[in-house]
Protein backbone atom coordinates (compact mmCIF):
# COMPACT_ATOMS: atom_id res chain seq x y z
CA UNK A 1 0.00 0.00 0.00
CA UNK A 2 1.17 3.50 -0.88
CA UNK A 3 -0.18 6.01 1.60
CA UNK A 4 0.24 9.47 3.03
CA UNK A 5 -1.35 10.57 6.29
CA UNK A 6 -2.18 14.03 7.68
CA UNK A 7 0.10 15.80 5.25
CA UNK A 8 0.65 19.50 5.83
CA UNK A 9 2.87 21.57 3.59
CA UNK A 10 3.55 25.27 3.28
CA UNK A 11 5.34 26.68 0.23
CA UNK A 12 6.40 30.34 0.15
CA UNK A 13 4.12 31.20 3.08
CA UNK A 14 1.02 29.63 1.51
CA UNK A 15 -0.66 26.58 3.01
CA UNK A 16 -0.74 24.23 0.04
CA UNK A 17 -1.72 21.00 1.76
CA UNK A 18 -3.75 21.13 4.98
CA UNK A 19 -3.83 17.75 6.61
CA UNK A 20 -4.80 15.37 3.86
CA UNK A 21 -4.52 11.60 3.66
CA UNK A 22 -4.51 9.45 0.54
CA UNK A 23 -4.06 5.71 0.09
CA UNK A 24 -3.54 3.48 -2.93
CA UNK A 25 -4.07 -0.26 -2.45
CA UNK A 26 -2.61 -2.94 -4.73
CA UNK A 27 -4.98 -3.65 -7.60
CA UNK A 28 -6.67 -0.27 -7.61
CA UNK A 29 -6.58 2.71 -9.88
CA UNK A 30 -7.07 5.94 -7.93
CA UNK A 31 -7.70 9.32 -9.54
CA UNK A 32 -7.23 12.74 -7.95
CA UNK A 33 -9.29 15.58 -9.36
CA UNK A 34 -9.77 19.15 -8.31
CA UNK A 35 -9.69 22.74 -9.56
CA UNK A 36 -6.45 24.58 -10.36
CA UNK A 37 -4.48 25.41 -7.24
CA UNK A 38 -6.18 22.71 -5.16
CA UNK A 39 -2.79 21.17 -4.36
CA UNK A 40 -2.95 18.16 -6.71
CA UNK A 41 0.56 18.50 -8.09
CA UNK A 42 2.00 19.22 -4.65
CA UNK A 43 0.29 16.10 -3.31
CA UNK A 44 1.75 14.21 -6.25
CA UNK A 45 5.28 15.39 -5.45
CA UNK A 46 4.80 14.51 -1.79
CA UNK A 47 3.63 11.00 -2.69
CA UNK A 48 6.55 10.54 -5.10
CA UNK A 49 9.04 11.69 -2.48
CA UNK A 50 10.22 14.74 -4.45
CA UNK A 51 8.81 17.12 -1.81
CA UNK A 52 9.10 16.56 1.93
CA UNK A 53 5.94 17.50 3.84
CA UNK A 54 6.20 19.78 6.91
CA UNK A 55 4.02 17.35 8.85
CA UNK A 56 2.74 13.85 8.23
CA UNK A 57 4.13 10.63 6.83
CA UNK A 58 4.41 9.08 3.39
CA UNK A 59 4.96 5.34 3.28
CA UNK A 60 5.14 2.37 0.98
CA UNK A 61 4.15 -0.94 2.57
CA UNK A 62 4.15 0.66 6.04
CA UNK A 63 7.73 1.81 5.66
CA UNK A 64 8.38 5.54 5.40
CA UNK A 65 9.72 6.65 2.03
CA UNK A 66 12.91 8.05 3.57
CA UNK A 67 13.67 4.62 5.04
CA UNK A 68 13.73 3.05 1.59
CA UNK A 69 16.95 3.09 -0.38
CA UNK A 70 16.43 5.22 -3.48
CA UNK A 71 17.16 2.25 -5.68
CA UNK A 72 14.81 -0.21 -3.93
CA UNK A 73 12.10 2.39 -4.09
CA UNK A 74 12.75 2.94 -7.79
CA UNK A 75 12.26 -0.78 -8.43
CA UNK A 76 8.80 -0.63 -6.83
CA UNK A 77 7.51 2.81 -7.72
CA UNK A 78 7.67 4.77 -10.98
CA UNK A 79 6.69 8.38 -11.59
CA UNK A 80 5.51 9.93 -14.85
CA UNK A 81 6.02 13.71 -14.81
CA UNK A 82 3.81 16.16 -16.71
CA UNK A 83 6.64 17.00 -19.06
CA UNK A 84 10.20 15.85 -19.53
CA UNK A 85 13.37 17.89 -19.95
CA UNK A 86 14.95 15.32 -22.26
CA UNK A 87 16.35 17.11 -25.32
CA UNK A 88 19.05 14.75 -26.54
CA UNK A 89 18.51 12.56 -29.62
CA UNK A 90 18.12 9.13 -28.05
CA UNK A 91 16.37 6.36 -29.96
CA UNK A 92 12.94 5.60 -28.49
CA UNK A 93 14.05 2.08 -27.55
CA UNK A 94 16.97 3.57 -25.58
CA UNK A 95 14.73 6.01 -23.70
CA UNK A 96 12.57 3.05 -22.68
CA UNK A 97 15.64 1.09 -21.60
CA UNK A 98 16.65 4.03 -19.37
CA UNK A 99 13.70 2.96 -17.24
CA UNK A 100 15.56 -0.25 -16.45
CA UNK A 101 18.51 1.55 -14.84
CA UNK A 102 17.51 0.83 -11.21
CA UNK A 103 17.72 -2.88 -12.11
CA UNK A 104 21.21 -2.60 -13.62
CA UNK A 105 23.33 -5.57 -12.60
CA UNK A 106 20.28 -7.43 -11.26
CA UNK A 107 18.41 -8.34 -14.42
CA UNK A 108 19.86 -9.75 -17.60
CA UNK A 109 20.21 -7.38 -20.52
CA UNK A 110 18.12 -9.76 -22.65
CA UNK A 111 15.31 -9.53 -20.08
CA UNK A 112 15.55 -5.75 -20.13
CA UNK A 113 15.12 -5.81 -23.91
CA UNK A 114 12.12 -8.17 -23.57
CA UNK A 115 10.57 -5.83 -21.01
CA UNK A 116 11.17 -2.87 -23.33
CA UNK A 117 9.46 -4.91 -26.00
CA UNK A 118 6.47 -5.65 -23.78
CA UNK A 119 5.94 -2.02 -22.76
CA UNK A 120 6.36 -0.79 -26.34
CA UNK A 121 3.58 -3.19 -27.31
CA UNK A 122 1.46 -2.07 -24.38
CA UNK A 123 1.84 1.60 -25.31
CA UNK A 124 1.49 1.01 -29.07
CA UNK A 125 4.97 2.37 -29.83
CA UNK A 126 6.69 -0.58 -31.52
CA UNK A 127 6.63 1.20 -34.88
CA UNK A 128 8.52 4.17 -33.34
CA UNK A 129 11.17 2.10 -31.55
CA UNK A 130 13.97 3.15 -33.90
CA UNK A 131 12.94 6.82 -34.20
CA UNK A 132 14.90 9.65 -32.59
CA UNK A 133 13.07 10.96 -29.53
CA UNK A 134 13.75 14.55 -30.63
CA UNK A 135 11.76 14.02 -33.83
CA UNK A 136 8.57 12.93 -32.03
CA UNK A 137 5.49 15.05 -31.33
CA UNK A 138 4.61 16.09 -27.78
CA UNK A 139 2.01 13.37 -27.42
CA UNK A 140 4.34 10.69 -28.77
CA UNK A 141 7.05 11.81 -26.33
CA UNK A 142 4.59 11.54 -23.45
CA UNK A 143 3.78 7.96 -24.47
CA UNK A 144 7.49 7.13 -24.71
CA UNK A 145 7.89 8.30 -21.11
CA UNK A 146 4.89 6.20 -20.08
CA UNK A 147 6.65 3.23 -21.67
CA UNK A 148 9.83 4.19 -19.81
CA UNK A 149 8.20 4.35 -16.37
CA UNK A 150 6.28 1.13 -17.06
CA UNK A 151 9.56 -0.57 -17.99
CA UNK A 152 10.96 0.59 -14.64
CA UNK A 153 8.48 -1.53 -12.65
CA UNK A 154 7.39 -4.11 -15.24
CA UNK A 155 7.65 -7.82 -14.46
CA UNK A 156 7.96 -10.60 -16.97
CA UNK A 157 5.46 -13.38 -16.43
CA UNK A 158 5.41 -14.29 -12.75
CA UNK A 159 2.37 -13.49 -10.63
CA UNK A 160 2.86 -11.15 -7.72
CA UNK A 161 1.85 -11.07 -4.11
CA UNK A 162 0.44 -7.94 -2.48
CA UNK A 163 3.66 -6.94 -0.79
CA UNK A 164 5.52 -6.97 -4.11
CA UNK A 165 2.97 -4.80 -5.89
CA UNK A 166 4.42 -1.91 -7.86
CA UNK A 167 3.04 1.60 -7.85
CA UNK A 168 2.66 3.92 -10.80
CA UNK A 169 2.17 7.66 -10.25
CA UNK A 170 0.88 9.68 -13.21
CA UNK A 171 0.72 13.50 -13.23
CA UNK A 172 -1.96 14.62 -15.68
CA UNK A 173 -0.86 11.91 -18.11
CA UNK A 174 -3.51 12.66 -20.75
CA UNK A 175 -2.24 16.20 -21.46
CA UNK A 176 -1.06 16.51 -25.07
CA UNK A 177 -2.68 13.23 -26.09
CA UNK A 178 -5.32 12.87 -28.75
CA UNK A 179 -8.66 11.35 -27.79
CA UNK A 180 -7.78 7.79 -28.78
CA UNK A 181 -4.47 7.86 -26.97
CA UNK A 182 -5.99 9.41 -23.85
CA UNK A 183 -8.19 6.34 -23.58
CA UNK A 184 -5.41 3.98 -24.61
CA UNK A 185 -3.19 5.40 -21.88
CA UNK A 186 -5.88 5.09 -19.22
CA UNK A 187 -6.68 1.56 -20.38
CA UNK A 188 -2.99 0.73 -19.93
CA UNK A 189 -3.04 2.19 -16.41
CA UNK A 190 -6.25 0.24 -15.71
CA UNK A 191 -4.71 -3.06 -16.91
CA UNK A 192 -1.58 -2.41 -14.87
CA UNK A 193 -3.75 -1.97 -11.75
CA UNK A 194 -5.89 -5.03 -12.53
CA UNK A 195 -2.68 -7.09 -12.71
CA UNK A 196 -2.26 -6.38 -9.00
CA UNK A 197 -0.39 -3.06 -8.94
CA UNK A 198 -1.43 0.32 -7.59
CA UNK A 199 -1.98 3.36 -9.82
CA UNK A 200 -2.52 6.94 -8.73
CA UNK A 201 -3.22 9.55 -11.37
CA UNK A 202 -3.94 13.24 -11.33
CA UNK A 203 -6.64 14.01 -13.90
CA UNK A 204 -8.50 17.04 -15.15
CA UNK A 205 -11.26 15.26 -17.02
CA UNK A 206 -13.81 13.87 -14.55
CA UNK A 207 -15.36 11.70 -17.25
CA UNK A 208 -12.07 9.91 -17.87
CA UNK A 209 -11.64 9.57 -14.10
CA UNK A 210 -15.15 8.10 -13.83
CA UNK A 211 -14.48 5.60 -16.61
CA UNK A 212 -11.15 4.19 -15.44
CA UNK A 213 -10.72 4.84 -11.71
CA UNK A 214 -11.90 2.57 -8.91
CA UNK A 215 -11.77 5.38 -6.44
CA UNK A 216 -11.55 9.17 -6.59
CA UNK A 217 -10.24 11.90 -4.35
CA UNK A 218 -11.54 15.41 -4.84
CA UNK A 219 -9.11 18.08 -3.66
CA UNK A 220 -9.98 21.67 -2.91
CA UNK A 221 -7.78 24.24 -1.16
CA UNK A 222 -5.36 21.62 0.13
CA UNK A 223 -8.03 19.36 1.63
CA UNK A 224 -9.80 16.20 0.56
CA UNK A 225 -13.43 17.28 0.08
CA UNK A 226 -14.70 14.05 -1.47
CA UNK A 227 -13.54 10.45 -1.56
CA UNK A 228 -15.04 7.20 -2.80
CA UNK A 229 -16.25 5.36 -5.89
CA UNK A 230 -17.13 7.57 -8.89
CA UNK A 231 -20.89 7.13 -8.38
CA UNK A 232 -20.86 8.67 -4.90
CA UNK A 233 -18.25 11.35 -5.53
CA UNK A 234 -19.16 12.77 -8.94
CA UNK A 235 -22.40 14.47 -8.00
CA UNK A 236 -24.01 17.63 -9.31
CA UNK A 237 -23.55 19.22 -5.86
CA UNK A 238 -19.83 18.42 -5.75
CA UNK A 239 -19.18 19.97 -9.18
CA UNK A 240 -21.10 23.08 -8.26
CA UNK A 241 -19.47 23.60 -4.86
CA UNK A 242 -15.91 22.57 -5.74
CA UNK A 243 -15.51 23.54 -9.39
CA UNK A 244 -18.14 26.30 -9.35
CA UNK A 245 -19.75 25.12 -12.55
CA UNK A 246 -23.37 24.07 -13.03
CA UNK A 247 -23.51 20.58 -14.51
CA UNK A 248 -25.78 17.72 -15.41
CA UNK A 249 -24.65 14.30 -14.24
CA UNK A 250 -25.99 11.30 -16.17
CA UNK A 251 -25.47 7.56 -16.33
CA UNK A 252 -23.28 6.30 -19.14
CA UNK A 253 -25.56 4.21 -21.41
CA UNK A 254 -23.21 1.19 -21.57
CA UNK A 255 -20.96 1.05 -18.52
CA UNK A 256 -23.24 2.75 -16.01
CA UNK A 257 -20.60 5.07 -14.58
CA UNK A 258 -21.45 8.75 -14.14
CA UNK A 259 -20.92 11.18 -17.02
CA UNK A 260 -20.80 14.91 -16.53
CA UNK A 261 -21.72 17.61 -19.05
CA UNK A 262 -21.80 21.34 -18.34
CA UNK A 263 -25.41 22.30 -17.78
Amino acid sequence: MLACRDIELTLGGNDILRGLSVTVEPGECVAVIGPNGAGKSTLFHVLSGALKPDLGDVGLDDRRLQNWSKRELACRRAVLPQASLLSFPFRVIDVVLLGRSPHAGRTKRSDDVRIAEAVLLETDLVHLADRLYTTLSGGERQRVHLARVLAQIWRLGQSLSDDAASYLLLDEPTNNLDLAHQHALMATARRFATAGNGVLTILHDPNIAATYADRLYVLDQGRVVGEGVPETVLTKEMFESTFGIPVTVMRHPTHDRPVMVPA
Binding site: A74, C75, F88, P102, A116
Partner: protein, 361 residues
Protein backbone atom coordinates in the same frame (compact mmCIF):
# COMPACT_ATOMS: atom_id res chain seq x y z
CA UNK B 1 6.24 -13.49 -31.82
CA UNK B 2 7.67 -11.66 -34.81
CA UNK B 3 7.65 -8.22 -33.18
CA UNK B 4 9.70 -9.40 -30.23
CA UNK B 5 12.54 -10.58 -32.43
CA UNK B 6 12.32 -7.23 -34.27
CA UNK B 7 13.08 -5.24 -31.13
CA UNK B 8 15.82 -7.65 -30.07
CA UNK B 9 17.31 -7.46 -33.57
CA UNK B 10 17.06 -3.66 -33.49
CA UNK B 11 18.85 -3.54 -30.18
CA UNK B 12 21.56 -5.90 -31.43
CA UNK B 13 21.99 -3.91 -34.64
CA UNK B 14 22.53 -0.70 -32.64
CA UNK B 15 25.15 -2.40 -30.51
CA UNK B 16 27.00 -3.68 -33.58
CA UNK B 17 26.98 -0.26 -35.23
CA UNK B 18 28.28 1.31 -32.03
CA UNK B 19 31.01 -1.29 -31.63
CA UNK B 20 32.07 -0.67 -35.23
CA UNK B 21 32.22 3.10 -34.73
CA UNK B 22 34.23 2.76 -31.51
CA UNK B 23 36.57 0.35 -33.29
CA UNK B 24 37.06 2.87 -36.11
CA UNK B 25 37.83 5.60 -33.57
CA UNK B 26 40.39 3.39 -31.86
CA UNK B 27 41.99 2.70 -35.25
CA UNK B 28 42.13 6.45 -35.84
CA UNK B 29 43.89 6.95 -32.51
CA UNK B 30 46.48 4.30 -33.42
CA UNK B 31 47.18 6.03 -36.74
CA UNK B 32 47.43 9.43 -35.03
CA UNK B 33 49.81 7.93 -32.47
CA UNK B 34 52.21 6.60 -35.08
CA UNK B 35 52.00 9.80 -37.11
CA UNK B 36 52.70 11.91 -34.02
CA UNK B 37 55.67 9.91 -32.74
CA UNK B 38 57.08 9.33 -36.23
CA UNK B 39 56.84 12.80 -37.73
CA UNK B 40 59.34 15.61 -37.28
CA UNK B 41 62.96 16.57 -37.84
CA UNK B 42 63.95 12.95 -37.17
CA UNK B 43 61.53 10.60 -38.96
CA UNK B 44 60.71 7.28 -37.34
CA UNK B 45 58.72 4.63 -39.25
CA UNK B 46 55.89 2.81 -37.42
CA UNK B 47 57.85 -0.45 -37.52
CA UNK B 48 60.83 1.29 -35.95
CA UNK B 49 58.58 2.76 -33.26
CA UNK B 50 57.39 -0.74 -32.41
CA UNK B 51 60.96 -2.03 -32.56
CA UNK B 52 62.29 0.64 -30.19
CA UNK B 53 59.39 0.23 -27.73
CA UNK B 54 59.69 -3.57 -27.76
CA UNK B 55 63.43 -3.19 -27.29
CA UNK B 56 62.82 -1.22 -24.09
CA UNK B 57 60.98 -4.26 -22.73
CA UNK B 58 63.81 -6.56 -23.79
CA UNK B 59 62.09 -7.96 -26.87
CA UNK B 60 64.10 -7.87 -30.10
CA UNK B 61 61.86 -7.41 -33.15
CA UNK B 62 64.80 -7.25 -35.55
CA UNK B 63 63.91 -3.79 -36.87
CA UNK B 64 66.86 -1.56 -37.69
CA UNK B 65 66.91 1.90 -36.10
CA UNK B 66 69.50 4.51 -35.18
CA UNK B 67 70.35 5.64 -31.67
CA UNK B 68 69.20 9.17 -32.37
CA UNK B 69 65.77 7.84 -33.34
CA UNK B 70 65.59 5.95 -30.07
CA UNK B 71 66.55 9.03 -28.05
CA UNK B 72 64.12 11.31 -29.88
CA UNK B 73 61.28 8.82 -29.49
CA UNK B 74 61.81 8.00 -25.83
CA UNK B 75 62.83 11.37 -24.42
CA UNK B 76 61.05 13.89 -26.63
CA UNK B 77 58.16 12.51 -28.67
CA UNK B 78 56.77 9.88 -26.31
CA UNK B 79 56.26 12.14 -23.26
CA UNK B 80 54.71 14.75 -25.54
CA UNK B 81 52.39 12.23 -27.16
CA UNK B 82 51.44 10.75 -23.78
CA UNK B 83 50.60 14.24 -22.54
CA UNK B 84 48.50 14.80 -25.66
CA UNK B 85 46.62 11.56 -25.14
CA UNK B 86 45.82 12.05 -21.46
CA UNK B 87 44.94 15.73 -21.70
CA UNK B 88 42.82 15.24 -24.84
CA UNK B 89 41.04 12.37 -23.12
CA UNK B 90 40.53 14.35 -19.91
CA UNK B 91 39.20 17.47 -21.65
CA UNK B 92 36.84 15.47 -23.85
CA UNK B 93 35.34 13.26 -21.15
CA UNK B 94 34.99 16.20 -18.77
CA UNK B 95 33.17 18.07 -21.53
CA UNK B 96 30.88 15.12 -22.19
CA UNK B 97 30.13 14.66 -18.49
CA UNK B 98 29.41 18.35 -17.90
CA UNK B 99 27.17 18.56 -20.96
CA UNK B 100 25.24 15.67 -19.48
CA UNK B 101 25.14 17.20 -16.01
CA UNK B 102 23.93 20.57 -17.29
CA UNK B 103 21.68 18.88 -19.88
CA UNK B 104 23.19 21.46 -22.18
CA UNK B 105 25.20 20.55 -25.25
CA UNK B 106 26.93 23.93 -25.08
CA UNK B 107 28.51 23.32 -21.69
CA UNK B 108 32.25 22.83 -21.71
CA UNK B 109 34.88 22.41 -19.02
CA UNK B 110 35.48 26.17 -19.06
CA UNK B 111 31.97 26.77 -17.75
CA UNK B 112 32.65 25.58 -14.23
CA UNK B 113 35.52 28.04 -14.06
CA UNK B 114 38.30 25.49 -13.84
CA UNK B 115 40.20 26.56 -16.98
CA UNK B 116 40.10 30.31 -16.39
CA UNK B 117 40.80 29.83 -12.70
CA UNK B 118 43.86 27.81 -13.59
CA UNK B 119 44.84 30.43 -16.18
CA UNK B 120 44.55 33.25 -13.64
CA UNK B 121 46.69 31.37 -11.13
CA UNK B 122 49.24 30.58 -13.82
CA UNK B 123 49.33 34.19 -14.99
CA UNK B 124 49.79 35.38 -11.41
CA UNK B 125 52.64 32.92 -10.95
CA UNK B 126 54.35 34.06 -14.14
CA UNK B 127 54.01 37.79 -13.48
CA UNK B 128 54.14 38.05 -9.68
CA UNK B 129 55.63 34.73 -8.69
CA UNK B 130 59.37 35.42 -8.88
CA UNK B 131 59.75 35.64 -5.06
CA UNK B 132 57.89 32.33 -4.75
CA UNK B 133 60.11 30.70 -7.36
CA UNK B 134 63.20 31.87 -5.49
CA UNK B 135 61.83 30.51 -2.22
CA UNK B 136 61.37 26.90 -3.35
CA UNK B 137 64.30 24.51 -3.86
CA UNK B 138 65.59 24.49 -7.42
CA UNK B 139 64.50 20.92 -8.19
CA UNK B 140 60.89 21.87 -7.34
CA UNK B 141 60.77 25.13 -9.31
CA UNK B 142 59.42 23.36 -12.41
CA UNK B 143 56.36 22.29 -10.43
CA UNK B 144 55.38 25.70 -9.06
CA UNK B 145 53.42 26.79 -12.12
CA UNK B 146 51.43 23.56 -12.67
CA UNK B 147 50.67 23.17 -8.95
CA UNK B 148 49.45 26.76 -8.70
CA UNK B 149 47.39 26.40 -11.85
CA UNK B 150 45.83 23.17 -10.56
CA UNK B 151 45.00 24.79 -7.22
CA UNK B 152 43.62 27.90 -8.92
CA UNK B 153 41.36 25.82 -11.15
CA UNK B 154 39.96 23.79 -8.26
CA UNK B 155 39.48 26.87 -6.09
CA UNK B 156 37.50 28.66 -8.79
CA UNK B 157 35.29 25.63 -9.36
CA UNK B 158 34.75 25.38 -5.61
CA UNK B 159 33.63 29.03 -5.47
CA UNK B 160 31.28 28.56 -8.44
CA UNK B 161 29.90 25.44 -6.79
CA UNK B 162 29.38 27.19 -3.44
CA UNK B 163 27.53 30.07 -5.10
CA UNK B 164 25.14 27.62 -6.74
CA UNK B 165 24.61 25.44 -3.67
CA UNK B 166 22.06 26.02 -0.98
CA UNK B 167 20.73 23.66 1.68
CA UNK B 168 22.73 20.78 0.20
CA UNK B 169 21.17 21.27 -3.21
CA UNK B 170 22.98 22.57 -6.27
CA UNK B 171 21.16 24.60 -8.89
CA UNK B 172 22.85 23.71 -12.14
CA UNK B 173 21.44 26.77 -13.94
CA UNK B 174 22.81 29.05 -11.22
CA UNK B 175 26.10 27.22 -11.50
CA UNK B 176 26.26 27.88 -15.22
CA UNK B 177 25.64 31.58 -14.68
CA UNK B 178 28.06 31.77 -11.75
CA UNK B 179 30.65 30.09 -13.98
CA UNK B 180 30.15 32.74 -16.66
CA UNK B 181 30.54 35.50 -14.05
CA UNK B 182 33.66 33.93 -12.51
CA UNK B 183 35.15 33.57 -15.99
CA UNK B 184 34.61 37.29 -16.61
CA UNK B 185 36.25 38.17 -13.29
CA UNK B 186 39.19 35.87 -13.95
CA UNK B 187 39.56 37.25 -17.48
CA UNK B 188 39.78 40.77 -16.01
CA UNK B 189 42.46 39.55 -13.61
CA UNK B 190 44.41 38.00 -16.44
CA UNK B 191 44.06 41.22 -18.44
CA UNK B 192 45.47 43.19 -15.52
CA UNK B 193 48.41 40.79 -15.18
CA UNK B 194 49.10 41.04 -18.93
CA UNK B 195 49.12 44.82 -18.53
CA UNK B 196 51.65 44.57 -15.66
CA UNK B 197 53.97 42.07 -17.32
CA UNK B 198 57.32 42.70 -18.97
CA UNK B 199 58.24 41.35 -22.41
CA UNK B 200 59.54 37.96 -21.33
CA UNK B 201 56.60 37.43 -18.96
CA UNK B 202 54.23 38.38 -21.75
CA UNK B 203 55.72 35.72 -24.02
CA UNK B 204 55.44 33.09 -21.26
CA UNK B 205 51.88 34.18 -20.58
CA UNK B 206 50.84 33.97 -24.18
CA UNK B 207 52.40 30.57 -24.51
CA UNK B 208 50.47 29.36 -21.50
CA UNK B 209 47.14 31.00 -22.27
CA UNK B 210 47.08 29.48 -25.76
CA UNK B 211 48.24 26.07 -24.68
CA UNK B 212 51.14 23.86 -25.70
CA UNK B 213 52.30 20.30 -25.32
CA UNK B 214 55.87 21.35 -25.97
CA UNK B 215 58.85 20.92 -23.70
CA UNK B 216 57.28 18.27 -21.53
CA UNK B 217 59.63 15.82 -19.82
CA UNK B 218 58.92 12.55 -18.04
CA UNK B 219 59.91 14.25 -14.77
CA UNK B 220 57.18 16.85 -15.15
CA UNK B 221 54.65 14.49 -16.70
CA UNK B 222 54.72 11.45 -14.44
CA UNK B 223 53.66 13.07 -11.13
CA UNK B 224 50.59 14.52 -12.88
CA UNK B 225 49.61 11.39 -14.79
CA UNK B 226 47.58 9.76 -11.99
CA UNK B 227 45.92 13.11 -11.26
CA UNK B 228 44.63 13.27 -14.83
CA UNK B 229 43.94 9.59 -15.41
CA UNK B 230 42.17 8.68 -12.16
CA UNK B 231 39.27 11.14 -12.52
CA UNK B 232 39.10 10.48 -16.27
CA UNK B 233 38.62 6.76 -15.71
CA UNK B 234 36.29 7.33 -12.75
CA UNK B 235 33.97 9.38 -14.97
CA UNK B 236 33.57 6.32 -17.21
CA UNK B 237 31.58 4.71 -14.41
CA UNK B 238 29.01 7.51 -14.37
CA UNK B 239 27.36 6.59 -17.66
CA UNK B 240 24.04 5.28 -16.31
CA UNK B 241 23.85 8.20 -13.92
CA UNK B 242 24.50 10.76 -16.66
CA UNK B 243 21.92 9.14 -18.94
CA UNK B 244 19.37 9.43 -16.13
CA UNK B 245 20.30 13.08 -15.49
CA UNK B 246 19.44 13.91 -19.10
CA UNK B 247 15.81 13.16 -18.16
CA UNK B 248 15.95 15.83 -15.44
CA UNK B 249 17.06 15.75 -11.83
CA UNK B 250 13.68 14.74 -10.42
CA UNK B 251 13.38 11.90 -12.93
CA UNK B 252 16.90 10.74 -12.10
CA UNK B 253 15.89 10.68 -8.44
CA UNK B 254 12.77 8.66 -9.26
CA UNK B 255 15.01 6.24 -11.13
CA UNK B 256 16.81 5.60 -7.86
CA UNK B 257 19.91 7.81 -8.14
CA UNK B 258 21.18 9.99 -5.30
CA UNK B 259 21.20 13.12 -7.39
CA UNK B 260 22.96 15.59 -5.11
CA UNK B 261 25.86 13.23 -4.39
CA UNK B 262 26.00 12.46 -8.07
CA UNK B 263 26.22 16.09 -9.18
CA UNK B 264 28.91 16.82 -6.62
CA UNK B 265 30.93 13.79 -7.70
CA UNK B 266 30.77 14.66 -11.39
CA UNK B 267 31.79 18.27 -10.79
CA UNK B 268 34.73 17.22 -8.62
CA UNK B 269 35.93 14.59 -11.09
CA UNK B 270 35.60 16.92 -14.08
CA UNK B 271 37.40 19.74 -12.25
CA UNK B 272 40.23 17.40 -11.20
CA UNK B 273 40.68 16.00 -14.69
CA UNK B 274 40.60 19.38 -16.42
CA UNK B 275 42.57 21.15 -13.68
CA UNK B 276 45.40 18.65 -13.80
CA UNK B 277 45.52 18.64 -17.57
CA UNK B 278 45.35 22.43 -17.93
CA UNK B 279 48.13 22.72 -15.37
CA UNK B 280 50.38 20.76 -17.75
CA UNK B 281 49.34 22.14 -21.12
CA UNK B 282 47.84 25.56 -20.55
CA UNK B 283 44.39 26.41 -21.84
CA UNK B 284 43.41 24.34 -24.88
CA UNK B 285 40.05 25.52 -26.10
CA UNK B 286 37.22 23.72 -27.84
CA UNK B 287 38.27 20.09 -27.34
CA UNK B 288 35.85 19.53 -24.46
CA UNK B 289 33.04 21.17 -26.39
CA UNK B 290 33.65 19.74 -29.83
CA UNK B 291 34.56 16.11 -29.22
CA UNK B 292 31.37 14.99 -27.42
CA UNK B 293 29.35 16.59 -30.23
CA UNK B 294 31.20 14.66 -32.91
CA UNK B 295 30.73 11.46 -30.97
CA UNK B 296 26.99 12.07 -30.52
CA UNK B 297 26.69 12.55 -34.26
CA UNK B 298 28.41 9.24 -34.84
CA UNK B 299 26.92 6.98 -32.18
CA UNK B 300 24.19 8.90 -30.35
CA UNK B 301 23.96 10.48 -26.90
CA UNK B 302 24.04 7.36 -24.65
CA UNK B 303 26.89 7.86 -22.18
CA UNK B 304 27.85 4.19 -22.05
CA UNK B 305 29.47 4.66 -25.44
CA UNK B 306 29.73 8.46 -25.52
CA UNK B 307 32.21 8.60 -22.62
CA UNK B 308 34.76 6.02 -23.83
CA UNK B 309 34.45 7.21 -27.43
CA UNK B 310 35.03 10.81 -26.30
CA UNK B 311 38.22 9.71 -24.56
CA UNK B 312 39.48 8.11 -27.77
CA UNK B 313 38.48 10.95 -30.08
CA UNK B 314 39.72 13.64 -27.65
CA UNK B 315 43.13 11.99 -27.52
CA UNK B 316 43.22 11.63 -31.32
CA UNK B 317 42.19 15.22 -31.93
CA UNK B 318 44.84 16.62 -29.61
CA UNK B 319 47.56 14.44 -31.13
CA UNK B 320 46.67 15.58 -34.63
CA UNK B 321 46.39 19.23 -33.57
CA UNK B 322 49.77 19.03 -31.87
CA UNK B 323 51.33 17.37 -34.90
CA UNK B 324 50.11 20.23 -37.08
CA UNK B 325 51.08 22.85 -34.48
CA UNK B 326 54.69 21.73 -34.34
CA UNK B 327 55.20 21.17 -38.08
CA UNK B 328 53.21 23.91 -39.82
CA UNK B 329 55.52 26.89 -39.07
CA UNK B 330 58.91 25.15 -38.72
CA UNK B 331 61.23 25.77 -37.02
CA UNK B 332 58.80 27.60 -34.70
CA UNK B 333 55.78 26.05 -32.98
CA UNK B 334 52.25 27.37 -33.13
CA UNK B 335 50.43 27.36 -29.75
CA UNK B 336 48.02 24.44 -29.99
CA UNK B 337 45.09 26.44 -28.59
CA UNK B 338 45.17 28.67 -31.68
CA UNK B 339 44.82 25.60 -33.84
CA UNK B 340 42.04 23.90 -31.88
CA UNK B 341 40.08 27.18 -31.82
CA UNK B 342 40.54 28.17 -35.44
CA UNK B 343 39.66 24.68 -36.67
CA UNK B 344 37.10 23.94 -33.92
CA UNK B 345 35.23 27.22 -34.18
CA UNK B 346 34.24 27.06 -37.86
CA UNK B 347 33.59 23.35 -37.61
CA UNK B 348 31.30 23.91 -34.65
CA UNK B 349 29.40 26.61 -36.55
CA UNK B 350 28.98 24.18 -39.43
CA UNK B 351 27.59 21.62 -36.99
CA UNK B 352 25.13 24.16 -35.61
CA UNK B 353 23.79 24.95 -39.06
CA UNK B 354 23.50 21.25 -39.90
CA UNK B 355 21.88 20.05 -36.70
CA UNK B 356 18.27 20.59 -37.72
CA UNK B 357 18.72 18.39 -40.78
CA UNK B 358 20.04 15.61 -38.64
CA UNK B 359 17.42 15.80 -35.92
CA UNK B 360 20.13 16.58 -33.40
CA UNK B 361 19.71 18.39 -30.08
Amino acid sequence: MAVVSDIVALSDRHRQKTALAVGALAGGLAIAFFAAVGHGAVAIAPAQVLGILAGEFGIELGVAYEDVQRTVLLSIRLPRVCLGIISGAALAIAGAALQGLFRNPLADPGLIGVSTGAALAAAATIVLGTPLLLAVPAFLSGYVLPVNAFAGGLLTTFIVYRIASNDGRTEVTTMLLAGVAMNAIAAAGIGLLVFMSDDQQLRDLEYWLLGSLGGVTWERLLPAVPLVIAPTLALLFASRQLDALLLGETEAMHLGFRVETLKRTIIVLAALAVGASVALTGVIAFVGLLVPHLVRLMIGPGHRTLLPASIILGATLLLVADLVARTIVLPAELPIGILTSCLGGPFFIWLLTRRRHMGMW
